[in-house]
Amino acid sequence: MKARDVFSYSFSAIRLRKLRAGLTTLGVVIGIAAIVALLSITQGLQNTITRQLQTGFATNTLIVSTERGFGGGFGPGAQGGAAAAGSGFKLLVSDAQAINGTLSPEIEMSMAIIQRAGYVKSGETVRTTTIVGVDFTKYANIYTSTFAAESGSIPLSPAADMVVVGKRVSDPWKNGTLLFNVNDPVEIIWTNATTLPPENETYSGHVTAVLREIGGFGLGGPSDSNIYIPISQVQSFFGTDEVNTIVVKLKNDDKATIDSVSKTITDYFSNQVSVTSATAVLNTLSSVFSIIQLFLAGIAAISLLVAGIGIMNIMIVSLMERTREIGILKALGMKSRTVLWVFLCESVIIGLIGAAIGIASGWGLANLVAIVFRGGGGTFIGNQAGTTGGITITPVLTPTVFLGALAFGVGVSVVFALYPAWRASKLKPVEALRYE
């Protein structure tokens, strides 16, 4: 029997029981839709977060801190003054100068960052922020795209009172009502807890530049909700030389360089610092997402498994109903192999249709979820990032997910049809013909 004839024979059998076939297909549709929706949302979320991280990242940088992991440098939410490690080891501004081309030829430059939680005040309005002391020139060199002014300009040799503010500090309500604009005076406050009782220390600066909106959150990089003042000013304002992090810019971002320089720096500080690479963080994040995806896909796969059992059940019922038909086919000279193909072909058709509809509806569902999130402000990651800016998820249907879902849908259908199909093919013609 020709393949095309097997197909049309199978199709005619499916068409005969539309409702039953429809319900069986629905099982596959739901399973595949769940897989596609979950995977494309997670993929979209991963892309969004990675993209946001990358805006705040420079892949050719290393972050040196006294803390373990990347908590010290991760995000603007990091609290100032929390640098004290258990050993009492401190990184100083002078240490940043020691990390240079002499330590490793792969190092282009390094810079110290001192940051503390504080407030900015304009008239009666007070908002919390993170006060970050940096070398403007070096910082702009490392984070070219993010430490860039939207209005005003970033001074190369800044006066002590010059302040660069993030977009969310300037426009905290996201409605164009600016709290700070270029040339506005700004009162900068931090609470000095080293004295008793703690005292608020204050100085007045003026805004020289407002940063372009970054949207993401970075490792060591600029953030929308921070303010930036010259490193020398922050040293005298906080009365300390102790730095939170040192950002090291490398000449290139390949893994070998990152690893060797990381080791050189750790050795130089006798293992008392931790060195984090932006690239490594991205890699960790992407592997975490892979696990989440696998987990979610696994849950969705269970529903497909249920659909598979449904297919098997229906096929067995169908097999019993069609025993006589199989007897006729065999009496007319159909080979057992062909009977097997007829039944498998039915499941392939159900699987294909189910997977196709499932992919389409899963994709629709993913977009619906994305729209709902957008409408709801989508702040669940935003909060974590400490920014008021929401995130938007754009679901992504990769070719791998598309083809994988298709193959999985068809695969499950075929696997569960194997047993009924095999039983059908093994029927003895005499007995099948006698079956009532």
Binding site: M1, K2, R4, D5, Y9, S12, A13, R15, L16, R324, E325, G327, I328, L329, K330, A331, L332, G333, M334, K335, S336, R337, T338, K428, P429, V430, L433
Partner: protein, 227 residues
């Protein structure tokens, strides 16, 4: 004349639960090409079992059944299927596929044999014309009378130019007037086209229309009559 079917000391034992039942107890039979043979006997005499063996639907317990000098017992599953394509079956209950039209039912056996779509369509129409059903070829079995259904079944049996036709009580489920039509058609096929026909029946009158009759009883051939 060439021998189409030859049964030698054919025996078939069924297990009915745990009790063995001897359906055939040593049948010797020879069918030449162009023959029109009726196998006559009461129910339980083993005539359907014999028909199943001749039709390669089943294998004997003992003895040999040769179809065109090929021993059926020696054939595998796939070879048996190939052999069945060269045998035209006509069943008592028609055994048409209900969801297919008359033409599609006739086409089915050609489709199983791997004939191309255009070719089998033409051939099916010709066959339905032969059995006088060209006008009703797009009707489904449920829209056809018993006699018409049986004629579709005959057309289907003829589709792959079989070596012989096997008919199992072909008039068992149709009224006597339609039965006469079907028998007329069968006789015409035998006389005009030289088709070899083996027919199982318990109808004496029907058997009288054939060239030769064998009488079965209790798993044995007890009498042979040349009409």
């Amino acid at each position: 004349m060439t021998t189409i079917v030859e049964a030698v000391n054919l025996k078939k034992t069924y297990m009915l639960g745990k009790v063995p039942v001897d359906a055939l107890r040593g049948i010797n039979l020879r069918v030449e090409s162009g023959d029109f043979l009726a196998i006559l006997g009461p129910s339980g005499s083993g005539k359907s079992t014999l028909l199943n063996l001749i039709g390669a639907l089943d294998k004997p317990t003992e003895g040999n059944i040769l179809i065109e000098d090929v021993d059926v017992s020696m054939l595998g599953d796939s070879q048996l299927a190939d052999l069945r394509r060269r045998i035209g079956f006509v069943f008592q209950f028609f055994n048409l596929i209900p969801r297919f039209t008359a033409r599609e039912n006739v086409e089915l056996s050609m489709s199983i044999a791997g004939m191309s779509r255009a070719e089998r369509r033409k051939h099916a129409e010709d066959l339905l014309e032969t059995v006088g059903l060209k006008e009703r070829m797009n009707h489904k079995p449920s829209e056809l009378s018993g006699g018409e259904q049986q004629r579709v079944a005959i057309a289907r049996a003829l589709a792959n130019n079989p070596r012989f036709l096997l008919m199992d009580e072909p008039t068992g489920n149709i009224d006597s007037r339609t039965a006469t039509e079907v028998i007329g058609l069968t006789k015409k096929l035998n006389e005009e086209k030289g088709a070899t026909i083996i027919m199982v029946t318990h109808d004496q009158h029907l058997a009288a229309e054939t060239k030769r009759t064998v009488q079965m009883f209790d798993g044995l051939i007890i009498k042979e009559i040349v009409n």
